[in-house]
Symmetry: C2
Subunit: 227 residues, 2 copies
DNA sequence: CCTACCGATCGGTAGG
DNA sequence: CCTACCGATCGGTAGG
């Protein structure tokens, strides 16, 4: 059965594949390789090898190495942003919505560790104009958190001495740091992490007399609703 | 006065310098270049150019590019750790000490933005054994925060439903994220950032009836001490 | 620290 | 997608 030693099918398990399918493969492999070696440390040769293609053949699908990174970054950002925007749009007061966003974002990050890590690590490898193109002028990500804190403050759920900008940056930090230590199968599940972080965050913000997670509520009225 | 065009002093402003002085220069320049281009993106040529030396001459001071990164990382870590260890050792209850550590650590990071950024960005460029050599088996950094939260909980200053591991990772995240957005001369000073973050953190942890920053204190006794 | 050099690899291209 | 190739640059070294 051994092939008569010749051309065609020479590389990997590599049969010729439809363009879209190959692109999807290339995209996935590039994400992996950038994750493992960093953008600068990764070579197109690495990627081609893993696909069973020749390096030059990658240029059938891409224009440059930088473009490939750009595609990966854009897609990761698009998905991540869509996720938190959807979560933030669900019903509830700003603090309840913030809780949902935190829990859902941590979960999403943990389930997309590879892409998330590339996104958070390799942004500086892109020229600044292309960074801005991905992030959007006003850092869409950050804005979601900022907006919720601001609204919470306006409704009196959040302490009046809190600076919404600093608070949202603090929240973003604790949440985005997770990719650095989370490992699947480790001590904590994404859900545990997200819920505990949300709990910490709400406690850090909440005004006295407001129960984190409860609707607006008039100033005091402590134990009576609970049994 | 123009030199008779010849050898000696050929490069940069480069006169021959004592070994220690050159090493300090090399160290500083390497940190800068790694900051600007990332470790993989930086070349020894870049570094040599900025020093006014030939690339090969760098090997008079280093054994390899990797060793150079290792030296930078070790030194940044050493200084940062010394700083928080000193802060954590000052008198006060665990929450007061945590406040000091947060404020002082943010300040230190902001004043050493270049080194801090390299440290937090390029660790993965080192082989794992060398990473472990720098961080220490039990991640000394993280341990300082963990220890304070644990002690705070044991003394009843911190809510009993808090997981010290997750809480300290959350704190570390919000604090270490600062290097990503802080810029000297920007909207906030390091002191403002540190103090606001510390305020958020203490509020996130503190048990009901405990005033963040006060000594242990028996359960209640609210307004009477304050005027 | 310089001179002079090396093998390996890099991203990328022309032409089919 | 492969063949065949390019110029540039990489980290690193021998010898002084």
């Amino acid at each position: 059965m051994r092939q008569p030693a010749g051309r065609a099918e020479r590389r990997g398990g590599g049969s010729r594949k439809p363009r879209e399918e190959r692109w999807a493969e290339l995209f996935a492999v590039a994400t992996e390789v950038f994750y493992e070696k960093g953008y600068e440390g990764a070579s197109l040769q690495d990627i081609a090898d893993r696909l069973g293609l020749l390096k030059g053949s990658l240029y059938y699908y891409i224009h440059s190495k930088e473009d490939l990174l750009f595609e990966v970054m854009s897609e990761v950002h698009r998905q991540g942003l869509a996720n938190i925007v959807e979560l933030a749009s669900r019903p509830g007061d700003p603090l309840q919505r913030l809780r949902n966003v935190v829990v859902g974002h941590v979960d999403h990050m943990c389930r997309n560790l590879t892409g998330t890590t590339v996104f958070l690590h390799e942004m500086a490898a892109l020229p600044e104009p292309r960074q801005a193109e991905i992030l959007g002028g006003e850092h869409a990500y950050r804005s979601v958190f900022l907006d919720l804190v601001q609204k919470g403050k306006a409704e009196g759920l959040v302490r009046q001495d809190i600076d919404p900008k600093l608070a949202s940056l603090s929240i973003l930090g604790s949440v985005n740091w997770v990719y650095r230590w989370f490992r699947p199968g480790g001590e904590f599940t994404p859900k545990q992490i997200g819920e505990h972080f949300a709990d910490l965050i709400l406690h850090s913000l909440v005004a006295e007399g407001v129960q984190p997670g409860e609707p607006a509520a008039k100033p005091k009225r402590a134990k009576e609703t609970k049994n």
